[in-house]
Amino acid sequence: MGNLELFLPEAMVLLGALVAFVASVVGLSGRTTWIISLVMAVLATVVTFVYLGAQGEPFFPGIYRVDAFSQILKVGVVVGLLLTLMMVGNTSSIRERSRPDIPILLFVASFGMMMLVSATEMLTLYVALELSAYGLYILAALHRLQRAGSEAAAKYILYGAASSGVTLYGISLIFGATGTTYLGAIAQTPSSPLLIAGILLALSGILFKLAVFPFHAWAPDTYQGAPHEAVTFIATASKVAAVGVLARLMFLAVPEHDTLVTTLLVLCVASMVIGNLSAIAQDDLKRLLAYSTVAHAGYILIGLVAFTSLGAASAIYYVLVYVPIVFCAFLVVCALGADGSNPTKASLAGLYQRSPLLAITLLVGMFGLAGIPPTAGFTGKWFIFTAALDSGMFWLVLVGAINATVSLYYYLRVIKEAYLTPPGELGAIRLTPMMAIAAWLAMAMVLVTGFYPRPVWELAESAARALVGG
């Protein structure tokens, strides 16, 4: 048995789930549950930060590793959790009856995600993968508008289950090719087509989580139909975990890289292109963001296919800053879609008058997604491209940069609606204090990191070192 203390961050989150569960069972109101959960989330965040430098193995050797890499991504997950929870307070798109359950689901899913980034054994990994998904499946189904919500959830879960089935099958092939389930040991065995095929199949579930082509198609439908808060969480914390596990798999478990890199390269380019092109045509904001997520998964893959420590660091950096950036965008979605409906571009009209704070949040979010300085999105893009060039992928950078330009078009269109169109009949929007705090917090993260990327970057670097070194 290892040092169980290292499990404290996860344990805090699990405790949060339990507390929230108890609170909902004893029949506390949704609001009280929310406040308690928020406190727990803050605690969990603090603990996670405290354990940022932790290192070691809390359980049996080889199955669960706590290192700089896992801890940093856990921070990403809990920050996503915290931000989402802050917004859940005046939640609207989730049906009344289910509101007390939301924190539980969020906590459980976060717990799964945190485990996911630490798992170094395939069964653990698979269990964590499933665990992190179940909460999201249910969350997705809780939409106040049940017709859309159920469709979104059904697609989500069926797609997810199918791809997890493929993943499992892939794991079984890996097991067959190597006779082991420890990631570290897999890399030691000689490469064989069976192993590579197994790894490819095993990646399915993860690529599904990350919404990479060809596993991206659920994203727009689910984003569109699921409750805003659920989508926010899916788009933030879940991405961090997915990148974490993908990086872990690639760097730890793969004996031969060329094939995998080539494959991922194809998927990376396809994701960027399809994501960005499809996003152009969208009117529904959530759907637009879903496609943009697909494209961003492509950008992150650029960093990963560079397959260097630098590349891993840039991918980690990108996904970390991606959390507050995309949160900014979803915060606006939540605030605008207070009645549960999906905000479209038209409902952004005159946002600059109806709520200057929301407008600027949207601006920061969109510029962040587009990678415009001084947001952190710019530095993220810069690092990723540098990493790719460092690995000699000049043309990939070019394709990535072209995509960034295409994406700018639809981001600017969103900004245009918010800043140009007169408000017409639409009234002012009042934000709850917690929402406002969340907005300021996220913006501060985006801008401060944008101007001064050093702390986050150094964390990402140490994470990459831990990843590549071990």
Partner: protein, 101 residues
């Protein structure tokens, strides 16, 4: 039966499951297809464990986990399918095309 045969069998099962997922219109049938895929993986693991792995317990543990997870997944999926049925009085997957574009 050899390992090879078992793996071919598992592959066949997997493909049948996949076919079910892709081709059946009934949501429950799709779910069953997914279960088949999981089972194919289980069979693989067991066979490999039997023929290859030095540790006999590993495969069995994995399969136990798979069964548990599959059950949980099925439960959630069924509840969601129930939600679909409430809204549309049908569990035909082709009706789930309102979110698109």
């Amino acid at each position: 039966m050899t390992l090879h045969a078992w793996m071919v069998f598992a592959l066949t099962l997997f493909c049948i499951g996949l076919y079910g997922v892709i081709a059946r219109r009934n949501l429950i049938a799709i779910l069953i297809g997914i279960e088949l895929m999981l089972n194919a993986a289980s069979i693989n693991v067991l066979a490999i464990n039997y023929f290859v792995s030095p540790e006999p317990a590993v495969g069995q543990i994995i399969v136990l986990f798979i069964i548990g997870l599959a059950a949980a997944e099925a439960a959630i999926a069924l509840s969601i399918i129930l939600g679909v049925y409430r809204q549309r009085a049908s569990i035909d997957v082709t009706l789930l095309e309102e979110l698109r574009g």
